[in-house]
Every structure is written in structure tokens, then in C-alpha cells.
Symmetry: C2
Subunit: 409 residues, 2 copies
């Protein structure tokens, strides 16, 4: 089998951990697999470097910040290559320019455009294990770039796609994807398989296991992804394409996000184009709008409610205050102590009643639903922050997702 193994920061946090990673890679090689490794920086290193940056400059230049941060992966790949060579396994570290991980020029959040895997094929052919720096790339002018949060996952998937690997294994500090956050729900169950679409919703909705971009990329190129623990053995969770004969539960998991704030513009005239006159400027200010709800009152005026990330709340309040009169609104109100809770599952496409079951569960706990939004495989509700844990547990239980419940079925 041809594998890409990716190890995150906590998996390479110390020389001991790096040695353990080397042992794991050697085990895979001994089983006859061909393995390409992608690494993050040692845990804590990126924070250390970011601190140095703000110590020398209030607003660190983006190009130079990328040069700085990219040094973190350079350290971890060299150390792992050394550890493999020490174990008698030929290995070779690759920085982004050396394997030509070409990206666009968007410093701090670049996107991969192309990877030149010829050298990797030659290495694998010759029994050499390539160890590639995640997170970093190089633009057309030879400048270093970085891919932003979750960048190393994306590198791993991109390398796996370019190599046509059989599986991309993301080794992390959790042993898979769960039906809900185990810190909130006792007995949340590890999922054996989820689809790319489900994982994308789960990832976007705040489940921190994988970055959405990596999942999107994997789905696009149909690279089977597996999330598994770098500390224990275990099958982890396989993320793959939906297959006809795959027995799908109606709901795979419950996700939540605390990073939410809600704003309502009151008494907006119900005329065409008013929503875009309000939301247009916000979008152009690079503020991401998530849920949007508009309800028309008896007097022919409407209330427009939408959610943004919490960090953008104050700025959006200012913008609404400025545009209020211009759009003829009566006023606005906001709330930044809300959370979003979502049920996700490809099975709900063909099953009615999922929404009802969710709403009933929340009603039974006297939890007021503030907003609702749905997609083909997801139902999200906004509730007050203080109900977060209660709501997640209630919904998780309503869909009988706990290990115990599954076993009883």
C-alpha cells in the first residue's frame, strides 16, 4: 500500500515523541508499505515564533511572517529524517521549494496549486522515505508562503492526491471522529466511517479534528482519509466517498460552535434589494456571514437576522449603526452569547422527521431555538450559550448516538 502519514504538532512535540513517530513509520515500512511523511512544527514552536514576531513589530509583515513560521517545520522534518536514518531506514527531508509545493501568493493563507512529486516517486522506488514540511509553500516568484490554520493537513492530502496514495493517515491526539465532543457527552461514540460531506460539515461546525480545507481537498480528489491516534493503536475513523452499499445511520454526529454572534436589523422595508444593500458591505469587508433569516411582519416591514464570527461582532455593530438610517431600519439588536448546534448525516437526505426529532429534544429541555438553518445533510440551530452542553447532550441522546445506545439497537 502507498500511504501518506501526517503527524501534527503534539505528535512531534519532543525528541521522545519524534522517536516514537520514527518507530511507527519503521513499523509501517516493515509491513511492506511505501510511506511518505508530512509533519507540522513541534507543538509550541509556532506560538514561540509568533511571539518573537510581535516583539519586534506591531504589525509583522506577512511575507516575513511566513519566512519565520516556515522555520518550524524545517526543524521537525530534519529531526524525523535523522531518527529514521539512525534506525537504518534511508530518509530525506523536503522543504516546500525542494518538492515544489507551488501556491498562490496569498501570504499566511496560501492555496496549493501544484506539487512536483517526481522526486518523491524516485525516493519511494529507491526505498527512501520522504519527510515533507507541511504548512509551507512557495509562490511563482520563489517566496515562501504558509497555508494558514490546518495547513499541514492540507499539505498531506495534496501530497497523497499527487502521489495517488491509497490512504492519507492523519495522526493526531484524538483517536478518531466522534458522534459528539466527548468532553461534553459521556459515551460519545467513535465513528468507524464518515463521508467527506459529513466530515466537511462536522469540521466546519467546530469539530477541530481536521481542517475543512483538507477535507474539501480530499473529497475533491477522492483521497481516502483516516484520522487516528499517534499515541495508541486503533483503526480511527475513515473518511471516504459515500458508497451505495454503505449502511448509513440517519445522523452521524452532533457538532457545535461557540464562535458565533447574531445581529438583527429591525423593521427593514420589505422591498427588493434591501438584503444585499445591508449584507453587501459586510461581505466586502471580508466578514463571513453564516446563517441568514428574514421574516416579514404584518406591517410589511421585515426583521433581517444573520450570524457572524464572534470576533467580527463589534465591527458589524458599528457598520449596522452607520447604515441603519440609510436602509430605513427601525433599529438593530445583537447578541454575542449564542452558539450553533448541528446534526449532520448523509442519511437524513432520505429520512423525514430529523428536524422534528431535534426540535422536540430541545423543547423537552425548555431550550428556546433562536434561529434555524438547514442543508441537505445538516440541520443547525442557534441557542443561548448557557444551553450549549445541555442541548448537545439532549440531541445526541435523541438520535441514540451513544455507544451504549448503538449496542442496544
Amino acid at each position: 500500500m502507498r500511504y501518506v502519514y501526517k503527524f501534527g504538532g503534539t505528535s512531534v512535540a519532543s525528541p521522545e515523541r519524534i522517536s516514537a513517530v520514527a518507530d511507527r513509520v519503521v513499523r509501517g515500512l516493515s509491513e511492506g508499505h511505501r510511506i511518505t511523511v508530512v509533519l507540522s512544527a513541534m507543538a509550541g514552536e509556532t506560538n514561540r515564533l509568533e511571539q518573537l514576531a510581535v516583539d519586534v513589530a506591531k504589525r509583522p509583515d506577512a511575507r516575513e511572517r511566513d519566512v519565520l513560521l516556515a522555520s518550524g517545520e524545517q526543524v521537525s522534518i530534519a529531526l524525523l529524517a535523522m531518527a529514521l536514518i539512525e534506525r537504518g531506514r534511508p530518509a530525506r527531508s523536503y522543504l516546500a521549494p525542494q518538492v515544489a509545493i507551488r501556491t498562490d501568493t496569498a501570504h499566511t493563507r496560501a492555496r496549493i496549486e501544484h506539487i512536483d512529486v517526481e522526486c518523491l516517486h524516485a525516493d519511494l522506488e529507491a526505498g527512501v522515505t520522504p519527510v515533507i514540511a507541511g504548512f509551507q509553500g512557495i509562490d511563482a516568484d520563489g517566496n515562501l508562503t504558509t497555508l494558514g490554520r490546518g495547513g499541514s493537513d492540507t499539505t498531506a492530502v495534496a501530497v497523497a492526491a499527487a502521489l495517488d496514495a491509497d490512504e492519507c493517515r492523519i495522526y493526531t491526539d484524538v483517536d478518531g471522529v466522534y458522534t459528539a465532543d466527548p468532553r461534553i457527552v459521556d459515551g460519545a461514540a467513535r465513528l468507524g466511517v464518515v463521508t467527506f460531506e459529513e466530515m466537511l460539515e462536522l469540521a466546519s461546525l467546530g469539530s477541530k479534528v481536521l481542517h475543512p480545507r483538507a477535507v474539501e481537498f480530499a473529497g475533491k480528489y477522492a483521497v481516502p482519509l483516516r484520522v487516528l491516534s499517534s499515541f495508541d493503536d486503533g483503526p480511527g475513523t475513515l473518511i471516504t466517498t459515500e458508497e451505495q452499499d454503505m449502511e448509513q445511520p440517519i445522523v452521524s454526529g452532533i457538532a457545535y460552535s461557540r464562535d458565533e454572534a447574531k445581529l438583527t436589523l429591525l423593521g427593514v422595508p420589505d422591498v427588493p434589494g434591501v438584503a444585499s444593500r445591508i449584507l453587501g458591505p459586510i461581505g466586502r469587508a471580508n466578514i463571513e456571514i453564516d446563517m441568514i433569516v428574514q421574516n416579514v411582519g404584518a406591517d410589511g416591514s421585515a426583521d433581517l437576522t444573520f450570524t457572524v464570527k464572534r470576533g467580527d461582532y463589534d465591527r458589524v455593530c458599528e457598520m449596522l449603526d452607520e447604515m441603519r438610517e440609510e436602509v430605513g431600519a427601525r433599529g438593530f439588536e445583537g447578541d454575542n452569547r449564542i452558539v450553533k448546534i448541528s446534526v449532520v448525516g448523509v442519511g437524513m437526505r432520505s429520512h423525514a422527521g430529523v428536524a422534528t426529532r431535534m426540535f422536540d429534544a430541545l423543547a423537552a429541555e425548555n431550550i428556546n431555538i433562536r434561529m434555524i438553518s438547514t442543508s441537505e445533510i445538516k440541520i443547525s440551530v442557534v441557542v443561548d450559550e448557557r444551553y450549549l452542553e445541555l442541548a448537545v447532550r439532549a440531541v445526541h441522546s435523541a438520535f441514540e448516538l451513544s455507544e451504549a445506545a448503538v449496542e442496544e439497537q
Copy 2:
């Protein structure tokens, strides 16, 4: 003026120090100079990385060690570029591959073959300050290399030569080159000017201010070098070519080296080729032989004495023990508690009596000279280690090199 400024590890040891370096560069720019900066890694960083390497591998692979160590300069150049940009001065960091510092493939001690300075010229033309990673290079296959000890000095000189700079300024934690080690000799005087030849002897003989390779390179390309303090202002010491009208003192300085050991093969048959039969295998084992003295006794057999670095002493003892019988020697003795003391000065070419003055000064202190070696601009003697300070002070005084003595003249 076109300058290359090089700052060593202690000069960029912290965000505060990097800010001070940025201020100094801004000052130079404000005076209308065009400045290219070369940096070492932050002090302590190389040791930290080397420790990580030995923590994961007993014998770290040389290629990967270079990848690891090269990350140190990547951090410092990014930080300085940020600090300059923060001060409103456009700047751009360059890693070795980006400015094509091409070296041979000798990992951990590579030699610079070529630098592509076109991008630097374009930057300087456009008012951008290039900030270049010292110590690192790239070989013909795109592998990272490092230049070994003093590598950043060599990078600075090579960049200065390639840019045809007016002066290469080496900012360090001392304010110049002294007539003797100020820790040993009270009133040792800072030299205003020394020649490349003198500096090369001083550097090779243990004065740690500049690495001999950097001096050699500067001499070869006639790049004026200036050593000066990064903490204080002051003219430092200019290292340049010897000029006819330069008023040269007979002796410029007194150097010493503790890193010495002496071995004597006794009663070697005085026949042609015997010295090479003894010293050949030692040289081929990559052990550097410094001084060699052979004296023929009355019985037609000779004693062959030579010096090596102290770290090689035990190995050479073993080698001599093995070859003793084969070369027909009576036996061998060794001493690793010796030091070398040298007087250096281009002026001694045209002045007889320098050796006598040195030997008289040592004799007056009852210091026994164990070996003598001379070159055109240098006289070295080996003495017992315990006499080091006494000998240096006696010779320094004999040549009237102290500030007070110079002022009295």
C-alpha cells in the same frame, strides 16, 4: 557608500537586540548608504538545535543536520526584516536558495562557489534592504548546506565581494582587534588597521574575532573588512590590503592558542622519506599537523617533533604507537599541556631582530621555548601551558604594544 553589515549571534540574541540592530541599519540608511545585511542565528539557537539532533540520533545525518541548523538564520532574518519594515524601511529576507548561495556538496563545511546578486542589486536600486541568511548555502542538487564555524562571516564577505561593496562591516561583541587578548594583557591596544595577512595569522592563531576563511576570502577579493562593536559606537579595526604609505609597526599583535599538543618520535633513522612515512597517514586521517621540527642527533638518527590540535592528541598517540616499529623509531613522547604564542606583523619582513627580541623577553622570565616556527610575518613559539599569561604579557611589553607605551613613543 555600499556596505554589507554582518551581525553575529549575540547581536541578534533577543527581540530587543534585533530592534537595536534595526535602529543601527536605519541610521546607516539615513546617512544615505546602501546596506545589505547578513545575519547569524540568534545566540543559543544553534546549540538548542544541535541538542535536539543528538536527542533523536547518535550520529545525526549530515544532510539533515544542515537542514536543521539552517532554520536558525531563517528566524533571525525574518525578524530583522519585520523590524525594518515596522520602521518604514522596505526590507526583504533572503534564504540561501533565494539568493542562490551556491556551494559544493560538503555538508556541515561547504564552500561558497557563486552568489547570484542580481536580485540584491534590484532591491538596493529600489531602496529595499536585503537581509540575507548567513551560514547556509545550497548545492547543485538543491540540498541545503552549511558553511561550518564562522560561516556567516564568510557569507558576508562573499556577498560583499559579489556586490563589489565598499566595506564589509562585521558587528560583533568586541570593538575591534587588539594587540593581545585584553583578558590577559592589561592595556592591550585596539588596532586601527591591520592587513589581511596579519589578520589571517591572528585569526588562525586563536584570536576568535574573525574566522580565517572569511579573512582569506576578503583578502582574495580585496574586500575591506571592518570589525566593530554592535553595542557601542567606535571605528573598530579596519582590515585591508597593505599599502605602500601605510605606516606599519613592526609587530601588530600577540596571538596565542591553547588548542595545541606536541608529539615527538624519538630516534628515527635519518633516511629520505621517513617524515612522509610518519606524517602521511596522520594527514590522510584528516588530522591537521601544524609545526614540524626535525633535529638530527650525533648518532645519525633524528627526533621528529610536530604539533596537532589537542582533540587529536589521543588518536595520534595510538597511531604513533602502531607505526613506531615499522619506521624504526626508538620510541615516542608527547605533551598536551603546551600552548603556542606568536608575534604577528607585516613590518617584521623588513626588520631583523624581532625573533631575538621575543626570545630575550621569554628568557628574562625564565620561560623555556620548546619549539619555534617562523613565517614571513609571524614567529611562533611553543611553551608550557602554565607560562601562557606570563609569556604573552612579556612579549607584548617587549614590543611596546600597550596603549600607554604607544602614546609614550
